[in-house]
């Protein structure tokens, strides 16, 4: 059984207008997505901004009110608040935020910040709690003198590591990492990502890794889901997505990864333009009449794509011929 099973999750925001301020339409931030997260794996959720990936993450951790669908954890639907309270859900599922500065309360000392989940879920003695905080700081590579400082006294990378320390404090089973490194510069990104990987190995944590950076996702994730306009367009293993992309949107995202090889610059540019050309010409083939993605179709045991059955088969065959 999977750790978390998300089934047909929908998050719609109402649009109100008119004299009576009635609901006239809705923004479909997340529109019927399903996937499972296994214990101990890193699941990547990729998409452009506004595609609903952060909303999905917030729904999984219980911060967003879900319109319909279910998120099953330990056989209970945690979209209901009573079930979350009953399971002590946030003891097992935690979150790392994108903006490290605003996610740490500027008026609290580091000790109080990291100890907050411990105080709510574990009720340790004062000394045990302080020891636990010191150990957590040690694990994320910060000195003990950070204990009584305030968040603004740290660099971005250090702050994000404090965020990681808070998230792992209760030894959760799943951590939602909502673009954890996109606000950091490249050298610090690598540092924080390696910490996250190290902690995963040592504590056996699963990550739901939300990002728009395909290079980072390739480094971190075994399974990847591509999201577009609130729906999933492609699900697969790292190999499926990076080496055998089927959906035009995935191909376009992959073409957008910058290449560092300067001598091949012209060839890369042409390849990118060709993908864009195909996207423009064949767009209506890949999306239905409302511009939404089709339901997912399984093309191999690990790989699924949002296309009509016939088209999917055709593209798979084309791919095999090419190979």
């Amino acid at each position: 059984m999977s750790l978390i099973e998300i089934k047909d999750l929908k998050v719609h925001y109402p649009i109100r207008s008119g004299f009576w301020n009635r609901v006239t339409d809705s923004v479909k931030a997340v529109d019927g997505i399903s996937f499972n997260i296994e214990a101990g794996e890193t699941y990547g959720l990729v998409g452009e901004s506004g595609s609903g990936k952060s909303t999905t993450g917030k729904s999984v951790v219980g911060l967003e009110k879900v319109t319909s669908g279910s998120i099953m954890y330990k056989g209970k639907d945690i979209t209901k608040k009573s079930n979350r309270n009953h399971l002590d859900y946030n003891h097992d599922v935690q979150m790392i935020f994108q903006d490290s500065l605003s996610s740490l309360n500027p008026r609290k000392r580091i000790e109080d910040i990291i100890a907050e989940p411990l105080r709510n879920f574990e009720h340790l003695s004062k000394d045990d709690e302080k020891l636990r905080v010191l150990q957590l700081l040690d694990i994320v590579g910060l000195d003990a003198d950070a204990l009584y400082k305030y968040p603004h006294q740290f660099s971005g990378g250090q702050r994000q590591r404090i965020g990681v320390a808070r998230a792992v404090a209760t030894n959760p089973k799943l951590i939602i990492a909502d673009e954890p490194v996109s606000a950091l510069d490249l050298s610090v990104q690598a540092q924080v990502l390696n910490f996250m990987k190290k902690i995963q190995r040592e504590f056996g944590i699963s990550y739901l890794f939300i990002s728009h950076d395909l290079g980072v996702v390739r480094h971190m994730c075994n399974n990847i889901a591509i999201m577009n306009r609130g729906r999933l367009v492609e699900i697969g293993t790292r190999d499926d997505i990076y080496n055998h992309p089927l959906h035009i949107y995935t191909k376009r995202l992959l073409a957008a990864i910058p290449e560092t090889n300067v001598s091949q610059r012209k060839a890369h540019r042409e390849a990118r333009l060709a993908v864009e050309q195909v996207y423009r010409e064949q767009q209506d083939k890949y999306y239905d009449e409302h511009g939404d993605a089709y339901p997912l179709v399984q093309v191999s045991p690990t790989h699924a794509v949002a296309l009509p059955e016939a088209l999917a088969q055709q593209i798979v065959q084309e791919g095999e011929v090419k190979a």
Partner: protein, 316 residues
Amino acid sequence: MEENLNKHSNISAADLDRLTKEASEEATPSSAKIIWNEFKADKPAMGALIIVIGFILFVMIAALFINTPKMMETNIMNYNAAPGSNGFLFGADTGGRSVGQQLIVGARNSIGIAIGLTLISSTFGICWGLISGYFNGYIDWGMQRVYDFMMMLPMTMMIIVLVTIIKNYNAVTLTFIFSIFYWEGTSRLIRSRTLSESEKDYVAAAKTSGTSNFKIIFKEIMPNISSLIIVDTTLSFAENIGVETGLSYLGFGLPIQTPSLGTLIANANDPNNITQYWWTWLPAAILIIILCLSISYIGQVVRRSADASQRHGITD
């Protein structure tokens, strides 16, 4: 979890004391210390602080030694005695009552009412604003309609009507009557900041850490708007001194037998007093000016110490 942590970290219980000591040496100064440094760097504000605290303590203690009913007895022999004559340091008013003693007791009454009014109305306004802003939705809607209704009432008229209806009112009941009408401004101010504060990620992080709504409101959000709260409270304290004196001046504040700064200033209603007997009203007016100026100086220092970029004092 515990074994797990012990395995991956070199820190054990034996190091606890040593590391705690190291950390407290590196600790950031507390906000009380920052405010104190700020006062030390700003001489006029330090003077203002000494004046306000010294004066409040003086009137509170000195008023205990004055027999108010006896002081308020009319004595025709001392009619408008000039300062220094008949044993009156500050002179006497038309009723032959000591202006100096009235000043002490009156300031005690006025400041006491201002403090009480500030405490009650600010506490209520802050709670109202925090809860309304944090919960949003229907709760916010309902609470804001109550606010709108209270704003709609003509405040001074209502107080005057209530004061005339209630018989035998004194300083305490008057404070409560004022408090009903003076929480709105604070609540709206606090609500607007709470609305933007509760959208921030640290509130979401507190929710995922399992902190209750009540704790998030008063332990996470409130400290973050504390600078706004302190500034608003000091300024409304200065304003509240004016509220009571203003109404007493109009004759609807404290009863005639209870002196206040407002009743002293009301002496200026009489043209004779303005032109010839200046000592009956001038000391009270100057006192109010000095108090309000000093308090706003203090408010500025507190506001500066909350914002690191405006500080004058040494922080580390």
